[in-house]
Symmetry: C2
Subunit: 182 residues, 2 copies
């Protein structure tokens, strides 16, 4: 899956064949088909792995006692870190969800909506406890995702700034933007 994700990222999903994937992992095509019935199935499992990973990070913090501000910093750090560790997965997830067979799309959409809701819930909590302004929590969530997700278009693994530093820069800007005036 990791090799396939990398090939999809590099050459495009449509330009990568099961032959290419088999070659990349040193398998004969029949052996690859033993594990995955089709290219769509690999696509699905890349989606699964990605969304389960990020939901897992979020759920782990459920009883952490972190404040809404701190939780948002961690959300942003999670997303930026994936640009480093799961670059191929990220592009697949953002650009190829429409290529999934319908039954798979539903599963992934539900998980994605669950994740988005969990971030929106943090914003609502911050508004209720008075640390954030009364912003529209859905739009504010989409602004946060935008800042971070968009990095898949420009993030390069080349030093200069680490993904954590970028996340902290974005979080600083974002939190100043939504913090209640004191």
């Amino acid at each position: 899956m990791q090799r396939a994700a990398r090939l999809f990222d590099k050459h495009g999903y449509h330009n990568t064949s099961m032959d290419d994937i088999a070659a990349a992992v040193n398998l004969r095509k029949p052996s690859l088909y033993h594990y995955f019935g089709s290219k769509e199935e690999i696509l699905f499992w890349i989606h699964q792995e990605f969304i389960d990973l990020i939901i897992g990070r979020q759920v782990q913090r459920d009883d952490s006692g972190l404040s809404p501000e701190q939780l948002l910093v961690e959300v942003m750090a999670d997303i930026l870190e994936l640009m480093e560790t799961h670059r191929g997965h990220v592009r697949v997830f953002f650009e190829h969800h429409r290529e999934l067979p319908a039954r798979y799309q539903k599963t992934i959409r539900e998980k994605r909506d669950f994740y988005q809701q969990s971030v929106e819930d943090i914003l609502v909590e911050g508004i209720v406890n008075g640390s954030f302004r009364k912003v529209d929590p859905r739009l504010a969530t989409l602004a946060l995702f935008g800042m971070c997700n968009w990095a898949y278009q420009w993030y390069q693994n080349r030093g200069d700034k680490s993904s954590r530093e970028i996340a902290e820069f974005f979080a600083d800007l974002y939190l100043k933007g939504i913090r209640a005036e004191s």
Copy 2:
């Protein structure tokens, strides 16, 4: 080009053939080839139209006397408005630039860099004149693009909020985030 962009948006670039495009504009395929030598050429002209449009808006404001803050609001409004008026172009521009033949990629990349630089210049101007904090102007530009560009993934033309209202919400959040403390 508009019909082609819409087909690419709806069915994906790879799943759309010159036959489909010809049918959508009521042309026979040889007549379509009279205008465009290939699907890649249509892809290129969609890129051109899109980037020229947004650069045009930006350049128009060159001598407007607007403040850096006001200029950033307009930049954000430009991008969000394109989600409404050029939906197909937007997806093509964000997802299919790698499919352009190399010589075309260069042209588009140069224009895109020019546009990005023009936004970064506004940030630098605001930092110099003291209205913005001393943020990293490149990262701050990428944060702005992220918030706005990402809307191509979720923006739906369905009332509730206009693209201008969304842009103003984002601009409010963003400007509070970068404004110098008074």
